[in-house]
Each structure stands twice: as structure tokens, then as C-alpha cells.
Subunit: 580 residues, 2 copies
């Protein structure tokens, strides 16, 4: 491929709407172009990266005995009704009607379609276990697409579904798949991606893991224990709080607290530490019924935990005068009957707390949950905090990091197979319901994640395994006959040697050519100029700027090959072996 | 891959809803499974065939300097408004709103998105010509999906878009692309696909071709001239009719024609040949305005020609009493003013015709269009008929055949680039509008077409280039240690030799194994049985049943390879060379 023919443009100015580096570089380098909010076209460099990532994924899925298939993007709503998700999933599931007024959805995941595909044929235990996978377009109607290819509405995803005759068999396979994921990320140049325990969310099932690339640009928060190595999404990590015993017998007393509708104002006004407060967060259910969650003032509610507890979607509340709820002054004592109250475990065992009195500009002091809310149940609905207690080793070793979720795997159990009536006959002739796992990777998000952590100020520094081209050949002054001849011949030689090469022979200044080359980010660069051509040399360098050397022109292909092999070897060192 | 693990099932009974062989075989062989009307999942054999077809397409597109990209499935309605197609295309374009109530469409073709992708960067003539292509999911909300993968709603398509600085350059490229298409079909095992002139329909532009596989199972009709070789879709072929001069001065006379509302009844009742009648077909425009098309009684209206003439979609009419139209007795004389009347050229120059009198059970005889409709204009709105006059050589050599359209190419001109404001600066510094071409192939339809003409009563006979596996290894009586050992070793040897092999070692009867193998349709079959194993032999045969022989076990891989090379060579003979 010649740069001169390549569609797309490259430019210096950082687009103003780009909040993270990978987004800015992919726009500036002619990798992607926005078509609508959260919807992009991929230009050749991005498409080539995607294809290389897809090849790695295919190899790892095939090594797990995966069978590649293709399910539809447009699914009938009736299929999602079978599982119950047509109603339970929020508006990120895009629903519409076709010309015959049938309800359809744009598939954002394919558990239902996977069960539909195999339930008629996998009717006896001898057919198990098996795994099917596809690499395919998905659509998720995100409320807030952001960060370029990191959170989009339309994306290419590898999704896999495994079917087993026992939980034990699923767990064995799940472990192999987890390892395959570690291999995929390492092969793609991201060995630092870590598996963390996660919340299963709308997928259902119990055990699940997310694969997180820890980077400040991430939109997820991961709790990591410095003491024991425990890792989990904050939405999934149990939040453990040890309350100091309160002063006994402090009576519940209402006091005026003017202009103190926030926790900060309240603590300042009363000179109490934030840990001695009990704060409220208000939500509404799909039927608009109010839910008020109480948590210790220094903690945050995990909406994900709360949603899982209540079994329904929640949205931020609109507090009406008729609701009887006094925003800014809400407390657990004396709330209207119609409100669903949930107390976090962080207020259990505490006493002498400050909390709202459900009257304007009034709070209670001396709140003792055990005494004042004798029938209360406590649930884990708070996010673990930095410096918090590790749910695994119980030491205060938790630190929080931002992360990009580049993959996820779920032990689904029988949620879908049962709801959709999938059964097989076991060895004893009895009907059984298969156990399922599912395994996802977003291809574009993985590409963007690689860029996010493998770039410098000049552009992406693509790992050799996923680079759009392995090498770029730059011919400076192609109007010089010796340079032109040497470069043209070398281009053919490299192509004949099976090296994936981009050729820039445009009549542009060296500065333009090299800044474009930095934006293409090819691991190896070969420069031919009138000077090197006359000397029978080429200049050879790596995109990571660690090497720049001259080599004899006649050994050029061998030298490039050797460099590429070295880079591939460096990647390979970080790839764990397969589990069998 | 082992058959034992392969998902999907195979069965003997022809499904009752399958009207064509390829559909029946693909369902019976576990290739596809319906998810909704016109929406299918692809099981591994179908996915593998698709991938092989896609590889052939990629190679040919790359050889045309095509740049692979990926555009979205979901496009903003605003993009289609720019070209005017948001309103002009009928309900096969699926329109819906996203969560923010923005109008979106499911892309059925990507001219608009292609222009959007390149219009900002292809701003100077030096960037031209270029071609971009993608292989991607499309959705077309067909009113009547049918025939399995032949006419579906969701499908995988290769679509390519080329951009040029002149019509001449487009024509040169178009010829290269036409040849590349012939190569693709021949490489996929369908050298008999022919390019025929076609109607450009909703795509716009002037010159276009369809690639037709002539088969009775096709849903298109192709006119082929026995005399000069002219080929065109009946919707695109000019219909030429020579009328004998009518008897002069026969007066226009209304006569009672009871119970004669059809042309057949009328001709029987009046004892006139059908060529001496002028019949009416009634449509309605999107605004429900009536259109009545008149054509000689022996011909049929081409809705495609009529739509192109009127520049709007038409639907079958609902004739209300208020319309003033008398169904069954319609004629060109005395129709209500509000009706749009179109006369086909076939009634020009005729006289003494029978036609409706616009009164119940009444017709005119002696109708002379030139005399009775003096202001009429005549248009070509009829379909060419079998035995008709060739528009090219003017001889009566036309014969009609059914065909499946497996690809199409269009010279679009500036329709999209102009409407969407795409411009470049030419050598003289003037702004110009680029000329476009577009080029489509349906991957699934091509696979089904191959099956449609390459099968026998037992199953598909896949060409080696697109077969799901190149070879199938059958181990009869895998419980026999010698057979098992020989087959297992041979499976490994074949895999190591890079041969794409399916292995059936199930404990099933030979009849079941072989009928399944016939449904898989792999070009080469290797059978290992206790008898052949003991004799140090294998049995080797081809799916087309032309060869069945024994070969020494130790030469098995070489023998298979030789057979495959022979089959590939046979295909290659029919592949035309590339145009440069």
C-alpha cells in the first residue's frame, strides 16, 4: 500500500472533542471517522488493526475448540421475551418495529440467539461440552458514548457461548478461557491487562470476571489489595466497614441546620467528621416508586449493587412536593410509608450519627440505627473506598485505580437455558438443563486500549502483532533517480518476502513524511534517501525510538525481518501458555 | 474439526417451507437456521463457506487497489437525507429512532456513508482514482423474503465504491471490475455466471450490470438474444414491437361485453387475438394518486421501467367507487382527469384495437390510439417477451431465462457526490465533482447459488475453493483398534499437511456417516475401515462421484493433495485473466 493512495487524512491539531489520547490519535492519524454520536467508520489503518486482532482472537478461540458461527444483528423481540430481557433491559437495547410491525431489537449480546441456535440439536449429553463464537457487529444504544472507540454505540465484538453438563465442567472450561483471554491481550501487546472479579449485571449468573487495563483514562474503577493481590471492580467488591462503638444512650434529637443540605455543609456547620453522618441517595424505580438508600457519609452508593439487590432498573429521582420527601434533609426515621428504604451495612453498629430529620433545615443528632430503626435490614450497597478493608484478606490494603474493561467472561449457570427450555438427556435418560458460560471481547475497544498505553507524543507505537503495517518504507526525494530506484526495488523485495509494508514515496518534506509515519506507528521504519542510496545503505529504526541505525542495502530485507522477529519475540515472552 | 463435536443437525426430510434445492439442502445439512422471517444464523459449515468466498473477494478487490474499510450498519437518517434517498426509498429501508429520538436507518447500501468518509480528504485530483470496499452486514426489510439465503433481510455483502476524475476513468475501472467479478464467480465455482445489462433502479446512474446465474430457481428474468448474444434483465431491455397497420377508418364503437373483465374472457367473447387488445394496469403513487398504464394485451408492464419513468414508487391500486375507474373495463378514452395515463410504445401505430370503455361490461372496438388519443405520448414501459425483437440486432431472437442475481455493478456518475457536496481541485485549480462507481456482491446469496447448481440428490457438491472443508475423513468402526489408529494418525497427518479436514469417527452406521458426508459435500472423501486398515489401504473418492479408488495408506496425504490440486486446477481453467 502506498501512502499516496491511502484514503483519509492526517493532521497535527488535536480535535477539541477528544478527551483521551487514543481518541485524538486515531482521529489525527486517519484511523476512524465519526458518522454519528458513538458511531464510526473505520479507515484502512483501523480496519487492518482490527483484522489482526480478530486473527489472534480466532486462533485462541479455535484452540479452545470453539466453532465459529454468525448470528444476526437484528433479532426478533420474541427471542428476548423468552429470556425476560426484552422487558428487563433498559433503553440501551434498541427496540424497533419492522415493516410488518413485528418487534425487533438490535442485538447487543447473543445469549438468546445462541440458545435458539443449538437447543434443537444438542439434545444428548454426548454432544457436550461445546463452544460457539462469532466476531460480529453489535449495537448498544449508550446514553453517553465517549472516548472514541472506547465507548461507542456500534462495535465489533467477539462473543462466545459455551454449554456444559455440569457446573464443574463449566468451571474447568472457564479457567481455560480466562487463560486464553490473558493470551489474547498479551499477544495484542497488552500483557498488563488483569482479570478482576466483576458484577454480572444484566447478564445474570454468579461468577464473572472483567479484564481491565489499568489506566487513568479508564472509566471503570478497580479495587486492588496491596496486601493479598485481590482485585475486583468496585461494583463487585464487598464493602466492609468497621464502626467504632457509638456513645451509648445519646438521644435522637432534632436540631436546626440552616443551609446544610449537603454533607459537606452539614459537617462544617456541626463540626462532625463525615464518618459520623448517615446520608441518603434517592432513586426511582421504573414505576417511579421512590427508593432511598442510606450509607455512611464518607462512602458512595454502588448503583450496580443496589440494582442487583432490588432486581429492577433505577433512575435518578425527581423529588416532587407531593412525595413527602424533603431533599437535603432526608433521614431513615419518619419517612413516608410508600418509600422503599435500604440501609447499607456501613451504618450497622454505628451510633451517635447525624442524619436528616425529614423536615426542612433540620437534622437529627444521636441517631442509633439499631435503636431507632429496630426492624432495619442491612445490605452491601456501598462502593469499596480507597484505603478500605480487603474482602479477601481483611486488611486495610485496598487502593483504587481507573481501568478500561477490554473483555469479560461470565459463568451464566442455567439462566438462559432454563428460561428458553433447552434440555438434554443425560447418561441415565433423564432430562437436564445445560450450564452456560459466555465470553466477550470488544475488538475496537481493544485496539483503542493498545493505543492508549502504547503511544508517545508523536503518535501510536503499535505492537508488531497488531500494527496496521509491520514496516513503513519512506523514500525521501523520490525525484532522485537513485533513491527512487532503490526504494521501488526494496518495496517489491519486502512485499515478496511477505512483509506487510506501507510505502511513502510522496513528494513531501521529510518532516511531513516522518510525522505521518509517527501517526501510522509501524514498528519498523526504513528510510531511503539520495544520500543513503548513493552509499548503498538504508536507515533502519524502530517506532519506539530505541533503535536507529544504517544497514547495507543488500541486506535490507533480512535486517527488517530480524528486527520484526525480535519485536515479536519480545511480545511472546509475556504470553502465558495455554491451559488444556 | 470432528463431526461429533460439530453443532447443528442433519436430517433426511425436506422441510416443507423450502421451495428451492439450495434452501432445503442448507437446512438439512446444518448450514443455516432461521431466527426470524428472512433472518438466519450461520452454523459452522456455512460460516466457513462464507469465509472462503470472502477471501476470494478480498484478493480480487485488493488486486484492483481496493482499500478495505468498515462503515456502520446503523446510519443517521440525516446522511440519507443529504442524498434524498431517505424519502425516495420505500419501506425496504428500515427507519427507526434511537433513544434520543434521532432518526436512524439500517444501512442496505453505503453510497452516502462512502461519500461522507472520503469527502473531506479527497480534495485534490492527485488522490484519484481510488476504491474503498467493505464486507459487512446489511439489512433490507424485504416484503417477501424467500428461498433461504437467496432473498433474506439481513445479509453479508461486499460493497465497493470507486471515485474518479472523469467518466472515461470510471469506464476503464468499471471494465476491470467487471472482469474481477467474472474472476470471483469463476473462482467460487460458477464460471457460468454472466453479466447482463440492468436497470439502475434506486441506485441512480446510467450504465449498470447484473451478474446472473441462469437457473430455473432464479427470481429474475433475463432476456438473451440467440442471434447476437445480447443479454439484459427484462426490466432493462427495450421492448420493441412492430404493429401491423390497422384497418383504416374503423370507428370507435362501444359494445356490450358481459362478464369480460379479463383479457382472456374478452378475447374469447369477441374472438379477437390478444395482440389486438389494449389492456390497462392500475397503480397508485405514494400520495395515492392513480396511474394507469396501457400496453398491448400480449405484453406485461415492467414496474421497474414505469417507476423510473415516473420517478416515484408505485403500489398496486385499490380502486374505490369514488375514483371513477371501472375495474375490468378501463380504456384510454374518457378516463377521469385526475388519473395519470401512460401508454406503452406497443400500442403506437396499432389500430382496430379492443379496449375498455370505462363503463361496466362495455368495451370499445376500433380503438385507434393516434386518432382517439391525439395528444398521447408513448413510453417503453413493457417487458420484452419470449420471441421478441432484440434491441441490439433487431432480430426476433430473444429468449427468456430465469436467473439469480449474484452481483451488480453501477456507473453512478455524480448523483451522490453532487448531492453531498463532494468536490476536488483539478490540475487547473478548478473545483470539480468526482464521478463514482459502485460494486456489490452478496456473500450468502453467492454461497446458496453455488449450492443451487452444484448439488445432486444427496447434497451439495461444493467446489474445492469454497467447500466448508476440503476433505472429509470417515472412520468406519472406530471401535476397531487398527481402523482407529490408522484414522487418528491420518487425521493428524492431513492437518499437519495444511489440509482442511473434517473427521467423522462417530459410532454410527456407514449409511448415516455417508449420507451426512454427502450433505457436507466436501470435494474429497477418505474412508478408513477395519478392512482397508488391515490391508494397509485407504479408500479415496470425490463428492461428484466420478472417482472411487483405493490407495496405499502410506501415500494417503500425497494422494489427497494431488486430488485437491486437480480439482483446483479444473476450476482455474475457467478463470479469466485480470485486466490491468
Amino acid at each position: 500500500m502506498k501512502v499516496d493512495n491511502l484514503i483519509g487524512e492526517r493532521f497535527k491539531e488535536r480535535p477539541s472533542d477528544c478527551t483521551i489520547e487514543s481518541h485524538a490519535l486515531m482521529v489525527r492519524g486517519g484511523y476512524i471517522k465519526q458518522v454519528a454520536n458513538g458511531i464510526y467508520s473505520q479507515l484502512p489503518p483501523m480496519k487492518r488493526i482490527s483484522q489482526k486482532i480478530e486473527r489472534i482472537i480466532r486462533e485462541e478461540m479455535d484452540a479452545l475448540d470453539g466453532q465459529e458461527i454468525l448470528m444476526p444483528v437484528v433479532l426478533p423481540g420474541s427471542l428476548w421475551q423468552e429470556s425476560g430481557r426484552y422487558d428487563s433491559v433498559g433503553s440501551e437495547l434498541l427496540r424497533f418495529c419492522d415493516r410488518s410491525r413485528a418487534q425487533m431489537v438490535l442485538a447487543m449480546t447473543h445469549e438468546e440467539a445462541a440458545v435458539q441456535l443449538v437447543r434443537d440439536s444438542a439434545k444428548t449429553y454426548t454432544r457436550y461440552p461445546f463452544m460457539i463464537y462469532q466476531i460480529q457487529t453489535k449495537f448498544r444504544d449508550e446514553a453517553r458514548p465517549r472516548a472514541g472507540m472506547i465507548r461507542v454505540r456500534e462495535f465489533t465484538m467477539k462473543d462466545a457461548y459455551s454449554f456444559h453438563t455440569s457446573q464443574e465442567d463449566l468451571e474447568r472450561y472457564y479457567a481455560r478461557c480466562l487463560r486464553a483471554y490473558e493470551r489474547i491481550f498479551a499477544r495484542a501487546g497488552l500483557p498488563e491487562v488483569v482479570a478482576v472479579a466483576s458484577d454480572s449485571g444484566m447478564m445474570g449468573g454468579s461468577i464473572s470476571h472483567e479484564f481491565m487495563l489499568l489506566t487513568p483514562a479508564g472509566e471503570d474503577t478497580v479495587a486492588v489489595c496491596r496486601e493479598c493481590g485481590y482485585r475486583a471492580n468496585v461494583e463487585a467488591a464487598a464493602c466492609i466497614v468497621r464502626n467504632e462503638p457509638g456513645q451509648e444512650d445519646e438521644p435522637l434529637t432534632a436540631i436546626p441546620t440552616p443551609h446544610s443540605s449537603t454533607i459537606e455543609e452539614l459537617c462544617t456547620f456541626l463540626h462532625v467528621p463525615v464518618e459520623k453522618t448517615c446520608k441518603a441517595v434517592v432513586y426511582q424505580k421504573p414505576d417511579d416508586g421512590y427508593v432511598i438508600a442510606f450509607v455512611r457519609g464518607d462512602l458512595e452508593i454502588s448503583e450496580s449493587k443496589l440494582t442487583a439487590l432490588l432486581g429492577c432498573e433505577l433512575h435518578p429521582a425527581e423529588i416532587t412536593p407531593e412525595s413527602g420527601i424533603v431533599a437535603g434533609y432526608i433521614g431513615p426515621v419518619g419517612l413516608p410509608e410508600h418509600v422503599t428504604v435500604v440501609l447499607d451495612r456501613s451504618v450497622r453498629g454505628a451510633a451517635g450519627l447525624v442524619t436528616g430529620a425529614n423536615r426542612i433545615e433540620t437534622h437529627y443528632i444521636g441517631f442509633d440505627p439499631a435503636r431507632d430503626c429496630p426492624n432495619a435490614e442491612y445490605h452491601d450497597i456501598a462502593k469499596i473506598k480507597d484505603g478500605g478493608i480487603c474482602p479477601c484478606c481483611k486488611k486495610a490494603g485496598i487502593s483504587l485505580s481507573r481501568g478500561i474493561e477490554v473483555g469479560n467472561i461470565f459463568q451464566l449457570g442455567t439462566k438462559y437455558s432454563k428460561a428458553m427450555g433447552m434440555q438434554y438427556t443425560d447418561e441415565n435418560g433423564n432430562l437436564q438443563t445445560p450450564v452456560m458460560g459466555c465470553y466477550g471481547i470488544g475488538v475496537g475497544r481493544l485496539a483503542a486500549s493498545v493505543c492508549e498505553v502504547r503511544h508517545d507524543e508523536l503518535g501510536p507505537v503499535w505492537p508488531v502483532s497488531v500494527a496496521p503495517w509491520q514496516a513503513e518504507l519512506c523514500c525521501l526525494r523520490a525525484d532522485d533517480p537513485a533513491a527512487r530506484e532503490s526504494a521501488d526495488a526494496l518495496y517489491r523485495e519486502l512485499q515478496n518476502a511477505g512483509i506487510d509494508v506501507l510505502f511513502d514515496d510522496r513528494p513531501v518534506r521529510a518532516g511531513v513524511m516522518f510525522s505521518d509515519a509517527d501517526l501510522f506507528g509501524c514498528p519498523v521504519r526504513i528510510v531511503v534517501s539520495p544520500k543513503t542510496a548513493a552509499a548503498g545503505q538504508i536507515e533502519l529504526s524502530t517506532r519506539d525510538k530505541t533503535l536507529k541505525t544504517n544497514a547495507p542495502r543488500e541486506n535490507a530485507v533480512a535486517a527488517v525481518r530480524e528486527l520484526l522477529a525480535g519485536l515479536a519475540g519480545d511480545l511472546e515472552k509475556h504470553v502465558p501458555s495455554r491451559l488444556e
